[in-house]
């Protein structure tokens, strides 16, 4: 016994000594880089290769997790959606909501050694509205932007043409990632970005191999993380590689065999498998914006009749359908606003409709679709109750095509509606939309502010108002919500909006809330999600080893 204890003690001492040596070595290794931060590297497999690394040209939600490695925004978001200082330490808004005065951090430098100051923020804003640069941002997010004025080296005054509740939201978005004005002029390919278009972020992009990977190394000078980050100072990781692996099964295999440490985009079919593996952690985060929904086109029969819209909605047992397609991993949606936008989500709509085939059949009988043809589909005046949905292939993700087939079977079986979901190329879809040759369209929007999504879908003549629904009162409510910055008041208005479109008008069938999944192996910590958008955070707080 005694001998054994002795050995144990010895082993213990040796282990301790070894540990000490290791930490000592790690300290000296990272000592040169300052901050005493831990070193290490990490490989993160992602589904999508970004079209651009220029944050001002950003447009893919799937690429959002890369942006803040390289670029910092002026404003950060807290977990309840509140605005926090980042590169801007404080800001004042004039009473009329037209003037924003920003105080900026004085200790920030870009990766190319340029100083960050008010002039660089102005250069960024001016670049965004430059003709032919980013028409979408200039026309939508910055439509109210008038001018920016440098009042002293670290104070910037921004003037708007009209009050805009979404302006601060814009300044916290990837578009507002601050780019070195020098590199805006010298970058070889400005719109594509890359190693020569630099920001102030915790990592420096130093290598991009198209079709393979993008590699970042730590920015040792970084000392301006937002207050809600888990730490301050330089990032923990010395380097990080994002590898592009579009095939989901390959990403999962690469993770379970330890060839990558983190993967993004875990398909529902693999979620169960990964959850069973105790060495792998899976985290899911609901995306902000609008829920994935089927919107009804009310410009022509059959959905010009509200009873038919309600019937379609009641004919589907959404829970069963989602379970069969996503094996219990999808979050059911109840409103046009998803649960990923809790600031505006109206939970009182839950369980107010749906899964009532009896009522659906009654409504359809009343609406005149009482006869059935040989195949069991309802007919009226010799025309079958057909619902066409024309989707463009690149936008079909999350097995939405399979989901459509499940809905197709459900509405056929329960009420005799002939639902025809088609996946086509973009040109064909555009033509179908122009010619109004569809009865239903599928959509979800990943905007950080759900209001931005509603503004695109609901008002008369809005960019994706494909329901052709018009309601002056609703438009007024939406406009009001966009100009007020009082969060409680906005929530109240958006609750009204949701009640109008979901309950009163039955304009859509909300299905599920899009979500991001991240899975990572043992020893990886600090994987978090952006509080408002629900997409994975940058690698700033991530570390490996214990």
């Amino acid at each position: 016994m005694k001998v054994q204890k002795g050995i144990l003690a010895l082993v213990g001492v040796l282990t301790l000594a070894a540990c000490g040596a290791e930490t000592g070595a790690a300290n000296t290794a990272s000592g040169g880089e300052g901050g005493g931060a831990k070193g290490g590297s990490l490989v993160w497999a992602v589904e999508t290769q970004p079209v651009t690394f220029n944050p001002q040209q950003w447009g893919q939600n799937k690429a959002r997790l890369l942006v803040h490695n390289q670029f910092d925004a002026l404003v950060a978001r807290g977990k309840d959606g509140e605005f926090l200082p980042w590169l801007a330490t404080s800001w004042e808004v004039s009473k009329d909501g037209l003037t924003y005065t920003f105080q900026l951090r004085k200790d920030v430098t870009f990766h190319d050694g340029e100083k960050f100051d008010a002039a660089s923020v102005k250069a960024n804003l001016d670049q965004l509205v430059a003709p032919g640069y980013n028409a979408a941002v200039a026309g939508i997010q910055l439509r109210n932007f008038s001018s920016a004025e440098v009042t002293d080296p670290y104070t910037l005054k921004v003037t708007l043409k009209a009050p805009d509740a979404l302006f601060l939201d814009f300044l916290s978005s990837p578009y507002a990632g601050q780019v070195s004005p020098k590199s805006l002029k010298t970058a070889k390919d400005l719109k594509a970005g890359g190693p020569d278009l630099v920001g102030t972020g915790p990592f420096i992009l130093d290598r991009f191999t198209p079709g393979q990977e993008v590699h970042y190394r730590r920015n040792p000078a970084y000392n301006w993380a937002p207050p809600n980050a888990a730490h301050q100072g330089p990032a923990y990781l010395e380097e990080i590689t994002y590898r592009f692996l579009p095939e989901a099964a390959v990403r999962v295999g690469a993770l379970t065999s330890g060839q990558v440490q983190v993967i993004e985009g875990v398909p529902a079919t693999e979620l169960g498998l990964l959850k069973a593996d105790s060495s792998v952690k899976v985290e899911t985060s609901l995306n902000s914006g609008s829920a994935f929904s089927y919107y009804f086109n009310i410009s022509h029969p059959p959905f010009d009749d509200k009873r038919v819209r309600e019937a379609f909605r009641d004919a589907v047992d959404v829970d069963t359908v989602l379970n069969s397609v996503y094996q219990g991993t999808a979050k059911r949606a109840w409103s046009i606003v998803g649960q990923g936008s809790p600031q505006f989500y109206d939970a009182s709509l839950e369980n107010t409709y749906g899964n009532n085939a009896q009522r659906a059949n009654k409504l359809l009988d009343e609406a005149g679709w009482s006869k059935r043809d040989a195949e069991g589909f309802r007919v009226k005046d010799g025309k079958r109750l057909t619902v066409r949905s024309i989707e463009s292939a690149p936008y079909v993700r999350d097995r939405r095509d399979v989901l459509a087939q499940a809905v197709q079977a459900a509405v056929k079986q329960s009420v005799g509606i002939d639902f025809q979901p088609k996946v086509v190329d973009q040109g064909t879809q555009q033509k179908a939309l122009q010619d109004d040759q569809y009865e239903l369209f599928q959509n979800s929007r990943g905007d950080t502010d759900a209001g931005a999504a509603l503004n695109l879908i609901l008002p008369k003549g809005a960019a994706i108002n494909r329901t052709h629904y018009e309601n002056a009162e609703l438009d007024k409510l939406l406009a009001e919500a966009s100009t007020t910055s009082d969060l409680a008041k906005r929530k109240e208005i958006y609750a009204k909006v949701q009640r109008i479109v979901v309950t009163d008008e039955a304009l859509l069938l909300p299905l599920y809330v899009p979500a991001d999944q991240v899975a990572y192996g043992a020893g990886v910590t600090g994987i978090t999600f952006e509080p408002v958008s629900g997409t994975p955070n940058s690698a700033y707080d991530v570390r490996t080893g214990t």
Partner: protein, 323 residues
């Protein structure tokens, strides 16, 4: 034989070459022209406005639209536009991708080497595996022949996508011998090249073995055997030459397999290359890139089949006169 007759013979031989060579080069150019025209017709036939089609998901501004209209001459009659398009192609101008904001030629040339490397390695794997299988099993009429035949059939029938996933599952995820992805040295090339080369190995192996077996039944084989030659020498030295001819004919098909399969294999293994560019261009509806890829594939086909045809001429002098 005098020097004069020798020279004349050489002259005649050269003359015999010129006709077929010119004919084949001409035919190649016609194929390229047809491919260019087909790509152009496809652009016109895609539903939607041609400017919309060309711009796809690129930045859409009035200035950009005006620029595209001038670049493609869309404000002029279609025959005129088509003429301009051919003229630009002749100058080697493949146009500009409005999605990626770069010249198409630059995009293709930056991604061509990883694909060429993958295709050549896959071809080498395919040929070596086929040769080994055929040489070791041909004419043996034993269970090994049956097994080889069966595995060739399997290899030829498995699509590269599935082959890639299976190879990854075994050799990367389970055994950990090879990395899963990327373009980092030879180790990362083995699995993708195998996934791509297996189909070639299967089909080529079948053709080779059939050729070998047919050759082994010919009278010259009997003669050779009567000289006391070993069976191995007979197969490797004599029968193989006969069996190679039909196999060479397959080269054209095999280039197609390599080009098409590269798209899938590059995506599965996360490798850079033309396949990724093509996939991205097709899903992103980047028509200028898609059209350039069509032209590129046609050019490869034409080059390879012209070379193969010319190789026949070199191998078999009879063909120079008969065609």
């Amino acid at each position: 034989m005098s020097t004069l007759t020798l020279t004349r013979r050489r002259g005649l031989a050269a003359a015999g070459w010129i006709g077929p060579v010119v004919r084949r080069l001409g035919a190649g150019l016609v194929v390229l022209w047809v491919a260019a025209t087909a790509a152009y017709v496809a652009l016109l036939l895609v539903p939607g406005d041609t400017v919309d089609v060309l711009i796809a998901d690129g930045v859409d501004t009035p200035q950009r639209r005006a620029q595209i209209i001038t670049e493609w001459g869309l404000d002029r009659p279609i025959p005129h536009q088509y003429g301009d398009y051919l003229l630009r192609l002749l100058h080697g101008d493949l146009g500009r991708s409005y999605v990626l904001q770069r010249d198409v030629a630059e995009i293709l040339s930056s991604q061509i080497w990883p694909t060429v490397r993958l295709a050549l390695t896959a071809a080498a794997f395919g040929v070596v595996i086929a040769l080994v299988l055929a040489l070791t099993t041909a004419g043996r009429r034993s269970w090994t022949t049956g097994l080889a035949g069966f595995s060739e059939l399997t290899a030829a029938s498995i699509p590269p996508f599935l082959a890639g996933l299976l190879l990854l599952a075994v050799f990367s995820f389970t055994l950990g011998w090879f990395p899963v992805s990327g373009d980092r040295g030879f180790a990362s090339l083995v699995l993708p090249a195998l996934a791509l080369g297996l189909q070639i190995a299967g089909a080529l192996g079948q053709v080779l073995r059939e050729g070998l077996e047919r050759a082994l039944e010919e009278p010259f084989a009997v003669t050779a055997r009567s000289r006391g030659i070993t069976e191995w020498r007979l197969v490797a030295r004599h029968a193989l030459r006969h069996a190679l001819l039909p196999a060479v004919t397959l080269t054209g098909w095999f280039v197609g397999v390599l080009l098409g399969g590269a798209i899938v294999v590059e995506a599965v293994f996360g490798r850079p290359g033309l396949g990724q560019i093509t996939l991205g261009a097709v899903t992103g509806k980047d028509m200028p890139v898609v059209m350039a890829v069509i032209m590129f594939a046609a050019a490869i086909y034409v080059t390879v089949s012209t070379l193969v045809d010319l190789a026949y001429l070199a191998i078999d002098p009879r063909l120079r006169r008969s065609r």
